[in-house]
C-alpha cells in the first residue's frame, strides 16, 4: 500500500510515539517492526507531524530518533497533532463539505434531495462520488451519531438538517486553552481551536504548565471508551498488552474510577473483574483496546467496593484483603527547615502528622503496600531520626539503599557497580 502521512488506526503508532518520547535510544532494528519498511513509514509520519520536535542522534550503533519537548514551555501538547491525522477517502471529504454547503443555515432536506444536490455538484456528471442512496444514508447516520446533523419528521417526510449549536465559543477561548492541557481528554479541547480566534504562536497563549506530562494524550481513545462505559454503567472488555509487549490478554471489567499520577502522568482505571470481584488497577498505557460490554446491574455496588478499597491506598498498589502495613517516620525539622515541614503537611495524603517536641515530628500511616512509599520517604533523607514499619523489609531496604547511594558517589566516578 502506498505511503500516506495519515493513518486509519491509532493503536499501531501509539507505541512508536511512546518510545520516541519516553525512551528515544532504540535503533531501527530494536523495534521488532514487521519490516524495516514499517519502522521507516512510522518514523516518516512522526517527522511530518512533529517537525522540529523530532531529533536525531547518530551513534556507533546507528541512528536514534527521539521526540524532545519541554512540557513547561509548550503551551499546547504537541502529541495532540497525531489525533488530527486520521485517514479518509475522497468520498468522505467531498460528502463532508457538500453536506455543510447543502444544509447551510437552517436548510432541511430529505435524503433524496441531498443525493440530488451532491450529484448536481459532480463535475464529471457520471455520479462517481456517491453511486447510491444507501452510501449517503450511512454517512448521514454516522454524522447523526457524531451530533453534526439531526433528523426530523416533517409531515410524512424525514428531513436532515445541521444540528443546532448555540454555544458562544469565543467566550470559551481562555477556558479551552487552559483545560485542553489541564482536564482529562484535553485533545477534544484542541479540536475546538478551529472554532476560536486563531492564536498562532505559543507566545500568545497565556498559560504554561509545570511538570506537564504530555504522554497520557496517547491514551485518549482508551480513556474515552472507558468513560463512556462508566457513564452508561456498562462492563467493558479490555485487551491488555503484557509487560513484555508481545501478547494481548483480555479482561472483562466493570470500570469505577480513574487514578492519575501528577508526578509521572500515568493513568490507571480502578475496576473489578468478572472472574474476581476484588478491585484492581489497570494501566491505561498498557490497554490496547476497549470493547463495550452489557449494562452492569450491580454497577453502584461494585463502584462502592472500589471506593472502600481506597482507604489504605498510598498510590495504586496493594491487595485489599491483606493486612495493612503500619509505618511510622520520625523527623527532626528545625525552624530553618520550614519548607520541609510544609512539604510533609502537603504531601502526607492519608497519613497523620503530629509534633513530639520543639524540632521533633512524627508521620504515621496504614497502607496496603508501604514499599510504594519508599521513593517519597527518601525525599526526607537528612531529617529522618527513626523509621519503623510492621513490614521490616521496608526499613532494611531504606537503610541498604541509603548506604549504596552514598557508595555510588564515594566510589569510582565511572563505576556504577
Amino acid at each position: 500500500m502506498a505511503y500516506s502521512e495519515l493513518i486509519k488506526d491509532f493503536s499501531g503508532i501509539r507505541n512508536y510515539m511512546r518510545d520516541f518520547y519516553v525512551f528515544g535510544f532504540r535503533h531501527r532494528e530494536e523495534f521488532g517492526a514487521k519490516s524495516a519498511r514499517s519502522y521507516d513509514n512510522e518514523r516518516r509520519r512522526l517527522e511530518s507531524w512533529f517537525g522540529e520536535d523530532i531529533r536525531f542522534q547518530q551513534t556507533l550503533s546507528g541512528k536514534q530518533v527521539f521526540l524532545s519537548v519541554s512540557g513547561r514551555t509548550a503551551a499546547r501538547n504537541p502529541l495532540y497533532r497525531a489525533f488530527r491525522a486520521r485517514s479518509f477517502t475522497d468520498g468522505d471529504i467531498v460528502f463532508h463539505f457538500l453536506l455543510l454547503d447543502l444544509l447551510y443555515g437552517d436548510r432541511a432536506l430529505t435524503l433524496r434531495e441531498i443525493v440530488a444536490g451532491m450529484d448536481a455538484f459532480d463535475p464529471s456528471g457520471q455520479r462517481k462520488l456517491f453511486p447510491d442512496e444507501s452510501t449517503v444514508r450511512k454517512k448521514l447516520k454516522e454524522y447523526q451519531s457524531l451530533g453534526v446533523v439531526a433528523a426530523e419528521k416533517r409531515g410524512s417526510r424525514l428531513v436532515w438538517r445541521l444540528a443546532r449549536d448555540s454555544v458562544s465559543l469565543p467566550r470559551w477561548a481562555d477556558c479551552v486553552a487552559f483545560f485542553s492541557e489541564a482536564a482529562p481528554l484535553g485533545v477534544v479541547g484542541s479540536y475546538l481551536s478551529g472554532f476560536l480566534p486563531p492564536r498562532g504562536a505559543d507566545a500568545e497563549i497565556p498559560f504554561r504548565f509545570k511538570d506537564h506530562y504530555l504522554l497520557n494524550a496517547l491514551d485518549s481513545e482508551i480513556l474515552f471508551r472507558l468513560l463512556l462505559a462508566v457513564r452508561e454503567r456498562r462492563r467493558a472488555v479490555i485487551g491488555m498488552w503484557t509487560m513484555t509487549g508481545n501478547r494481548v490478554v483480555k479482561h472483562d471489567i466493570c470500570p469505577a474510577r480513574f487514578f492519575v499520577s501528577t508526578s509521572n502522568g500515568r493513568q490507571y482505571v480502578l475496576a473489578t473483574q468478572r472472574s474476581d470481584s476484588r478491585p484492581l488497577f489497570f494501566r491505561l498505557d498498557l490497554i490496547r483496546s476497549v470493547t463495550p460490554g452489557p449494562p452492569e446491574p450491580a454497577f453502584d455496588q461494585l463502584r462502592e467496593q472500589c471506593d472502600a478499597y481506597r482507604e489504605h491506598l498510598w498510590g495504586v498498589s496493594g491487595t485489599p484483603q491483606s493486612t495493612v502495613d503500619r509505618l511510622e517516620m520520625r523527623l527532626r525539622i528545625t525552624e530553618e527547615d520550614g519548607e520541609v515541614l510544609d512539604r510533609l503537611l502537603r504531601e502526607k495524603r492519608g497519613g497523620a502528622v503530629s509534633r513530639e517536641g520543639p524540632d521533633a515530628w512524627v508521620f504515621s500511616i496504614e497502607v496496603y503496600d508501604a514499599s510504594e512509599m519508599l521513593p517519597w520517604i527518601r525525599t526526607f533523607t537528612g531529617h529522618i531520626t527513626s523509621l519503623s514499619c510492621s513490614n521490616p523489609h521496608i526499613v532494611s531496604r531504606y537503610r541498604d539503599d541509603l548506604n549504596k547511594t552514598l557508595e555510588l558517589y564515594e566510589g569510582n566516578a565511572d563505576d556504577f557497580s
Partner: protein, 298 residues
C-alpha cells in the same frame, strides 16, 4: 470516537481554503500557506494536488469557489459533552463561561471520576471571589501584554511588573503568576499570595515571552527494579536525550529549570541507588549532603 477525520488537520485546512476562496483572495501561495500552517509538513504534497486536480471538487479555475457558503460545522456531541464536563470543574469559576447551548448534553466526565492520588493538599481557593478577581485581572494583563501593579497579601509596596504567563501546577493545584521586573529579573508569585493586581500604563519589554533559565543535568541509570522506565517517565516532560552506555546502563542528559534545583535533588534522591548524578555539581553535592546528614543523625 475521539480519532475521527472530522477533527483532522486536512478537513480544517480545506475548510480554511474554501473560506479564503469565498472571500475572493485565494491564490496558490495562500493555499500553500494555509496547508503549512494548518496541516503537516508533507501535506503540501497531497492537499494542493487533490484540490487543483478536481479530485476534491471545491475550487474552480483561478482558485474560485465552487461551494456557495463558508463551511460551518456544528460542534459534535463529544465536543459539547467535554465543554459541559468543564462546567463541573471547580477551576471553571476562573473563566467567564456558562452552560448556554449545553443544556441538553450530559458531561463526558465528572470531577469525582478522577482521583489525582499524589496531588498535594492545600490547592488554590478557586471559589474565593477575591482570588477569582485577581486571577482574571492577571489573565487579562498576560493576554493583553500589559503592565500591572502587584500588591501582595503579605503587605509592602506595590510593584510595577510585566506579567508573562500564568503557570499551573497539577501537583499542587495552584497557579503562579510569572513576571519580569524593570531590572529584567524573572520572578514568580503564587496567585493566592496576591492581594491586588491592577492594570497600569507603561512600556512593555521587547521580548515579552516566557523565559526559564535552564541548566543541564546528566544522570547515569542502572536498569534494575524497572528503574529505567520509571526514571524516563518521571522526567519525560523535560527536553532530554538518552543513550545506552552498556547492557543495563544508560546516560540521560536533560534540560532543567535552574529555579528547581532543590526539587531536582529530591526527585533524583527518590530513586535510590539505581540513579547517579554525574552533573551539575550543585545537584550532585546537594544530594550527597543530604545522605551524609542522614548518616550523621543515625
Amino acid at each position: 470516537m475521539i480519532f475521527h477525520e472530522i477533527y483532522g488537520a486536512y478537513y480544517e485546512a480545506v475548510g480554511r481554503i474554501i473560506r479564503a476562496a469565498l472571500s475572493g483572495g485565494l491564490d496558490r501561495d495562500l493555499l500553500l500557506r494555509i496547508v503549512r500552517e494548518t496541516a503537516f509538513q508533507e501535506s503540501v504534497l497531497s492537499i494542493p494536488e487533490a484540490l487543483e486536480s478536481g479530485r476534491w471538487p471545491f475550487l474552480g479555475p483561478g482558485y474560485t469557489p465552487r461551494l456557495r457558503h463558508a463551511p460551518v460545522r456544528p460542534l459534535t456531541l463529544i465536543e459539547k459533552r467535554w465543554l459541559k464536563a468543564l462546567l463541573q470543574d471547580k477551576r471553571v469559576t476562573l473563566f467567564n463561561v456558562d452552560g448556554a447551548g449545553l443544556e441538553d448534553v450530559e458531561p463526558l466526565f465528572y470531577p469525582d471520576d478522577f482521583v489525582y492520588f499524589d496531588r498535594n493538599a492545600g490547592g488554590d481557593p478557586f471559589g474565593d471571589p477575591a482570588y477569582i478577581a485577581v486571577f482574571r485581572s492577571a489573565l487579562e494583563a498576560v493576554a493583553g501584554r500589559k503592565r500591572v501593579l502587584l500588591r501582595l497579601a503579605s503587605g509592602g509596596e506595590g510593584l510595577s511588573v510585566f506579567p508573562t504567563t500564568l503557570e499551573y501546577s497539577a501537583g499542587d493545584d495552584r497557579f503562579r503568576l510569572r513576571f519580569r521586573t524593570d531590572s529584567g529579573e524573572e520572578r514568580a508569585v503564587g496567585v493566592s499570595d496576591i492581594a491586588q493586581c491592577r492594570p497600569l500604563e507603561g512600556p512593555v519589554p521587547e521580548c515579552p515571552g516566557v523565559h526559564y533559565p535552564t541548566g543541564e543535568m546528566v544522570l547515569m541509570i542502572r536498569d534494575e527494579r524497572n528503574t529505567l522506565e520509571r526514571v524516563l517517565l518521571h522526567f519525560s516532560h523535560f527536553k532530554k536525550k538518552t543513550e545506552r552506555v552498556s547492557e543495563g546502563l544508560y546516560r540521560m542528559t536533560m534540560e532543567y529549570e535552574k529555579e528547581d534545583r532543590d526539587e531536582m535533588i529530591l526527585r533524583v534522591l527518590s530513586f535510590g541507588p539505581t540513579v547517579r548524578v554525574l552533573s551539575p555539581p550543585e545537584i550532585r553535592e546537594g544530594l550527597i549532603g543530604k545522605i551524609k546528614q542522614q548518616l550523621r543523625i543515625r
